[in-house]
Amino acid sequence: MNRYSYQAVMKRKNEIMKKSVGIDYEKFRVEGIAFDYERMMKEVGYSIEEVRKIQDEVSVGRTPLVELKNITKLVRKISKPGKGARIFIKDEACNPSGSFKDRRASLSVYHAKKKGYKGVIAATSGNYGAAVASQAAKRFLKCIIIQETYDSRGIGQPEILEKGRACEAYGAEVVQLSVGPELFYYSLLLLEQTGYFNASLYTPFAIAGIETLGYEIVEQLWERERRFPDVVVVTHAGGGNLTGTVRGLLKAGAKDTEIIAASVNLKGLHMASDEDFNRKSFTTGHTGFGIPFAVFPDRSDVPINAARPLRYMDRYVLVTQGEVFYVTEMLAQLEGMQRGPAGNTSLAAAIAIARELDKDKIVVVQETEYTGAGKLPSAQLTFAKKMGIEIKRGDPIKEDKPGERIVIPEHPSQLGVIEVNLLDLKRSYIKETMKRNNKHNFSEKELEFISEDLRLPIEAVTQFIDEEKEGKSNAKGR
């Protein structure tokens, strides 16, 4: 077998990953699938004080918390009397490369430098690429960003092309691939060939870097209002944003804050499909990552994923592409803040949620992102039209059809959310865990681990496992 073939490289996966992140993950394994999550986060990650110090060195974080007074006023106009919570937004676009991803990158790059790596590699089509490139520039490390950019006709997603340009602006090498999950294979190959650090989104460093975001929200709101947020809405994709933010909120004492995860609904579009690739207007923050990473976090590029979204979400809602474009317009025209659409996923959900809450409640939207060519509603929708997507005004939820139609609301009262049943996700987690590990029986310690990972009583975990086994035997009997 050729040493560089897909199969050969994938066989060396564990060895390459271990060398390129420098973490002996096996140390944290308790038994079978169970591992000591908190011990891993403590021993490998950095404390919040250390993270702050590192981020202050490179001017990451301490972004403004902005009250969206006009949007709140608008929400109250269209809500029942007494309803319409105050909405605040954490303006993460103020970070050096324009998104909260600088927080994750700052830690990964700091760590890589400290450990003597000559460069960093990140496989990402998102803002994280620009963040890693920016941090690598500050700390004089070489940087390679691997993106999934083009379909087989050579047509690039405008948003991803822009992120590629940003990476180049910071001096990084950008490897642009066509559609396919083998991006992972190619990043392993590059990690092996260069000996660079794997600035994965899923190491304990990449998560610890976001904890300051949650921490700052509590500090800033406390200073202004002397209270904790009632609700924090977090855009959910790979799970890191959610995990890190909530860990930070908890460390700052906000134990009763409701955590609502939000993703853009891209149901029906296959993420590994060459044909579907350019039929979506969101390249992150969508269900194509949000759901798979919730039900099986360990699909990432490290042996144990430090992002464990089901440990931290109280509620999970979906919004549509049309809703996000609409609120992006609202944010610009009512608040004077022009920001990138993908970062406004949680804002779209927050507006719908604020309508249901009493006026004295506070909802915090935890991010914004930079905007520019390729990353604007006008750029994305012009491209969508070229790809044959219908754009119309109407009911953004009922008429929405990902990959075929984007529906811009006619009135703000049409902004709503689609609820995801968390129990269904937890059941899928168990199903995936059984399938991928080819395992039907779990030890006591493994059950305890699943119970913690799902925030579900052990009895419920056992019941789901039994039902899954039964389902299997029923299927066989038929």
Partner: protein, 105 residues
């Protein structure tokens, strides 16, 4: 068009041909190769579009591939004004300024 040594160019290569790709891919992906495009500085003295050339990337790697662009332009832009979106601003502003119930802050 010809590129000279040291110019900023883009090269193309096939990483995996269709039969070398991963299993369980959607049909539309399975039938096409995994392709790569990378930019860097041309190492060859001269080259024309379509030649197999060597480049040095910003990270200092030397890689070879088919020359597909010389000083490649960024083609993404701000797009066109979107008729379905352009009225949203005036609409929400109007709602905000309508006299309504529940005005008390």
């Amino acid at each position: 068009m010809q590129a000279k040594k040291g110019e900023w160019v883009q090269v193309y290569s096939v990483i995996l041909s269709p039969n070398e790709r991963a299993e369980h891919l959607p049909e539309s992906t399975k039938k096409v190769p995994l392709e790569m495009r990378v930019k860097g500085f041309l190492i060859n003295d001269f080259a024309k579009i379509g030649d197999i050339v060597e480049i040095e990337t910003p990270s200092g790697r030397k890689i070879s591939g088919k020359l597909i662009a010389i000083n490649p332009k960024y083609i993404h832009d701000f797009g066109e004004p979107i008729p379905e979106l352009i009225k949203v601003g005036p609409e929400v502003r109007k709602i905000l300024h309508e006299p309504g119930r529940d005005e008390v802050e």
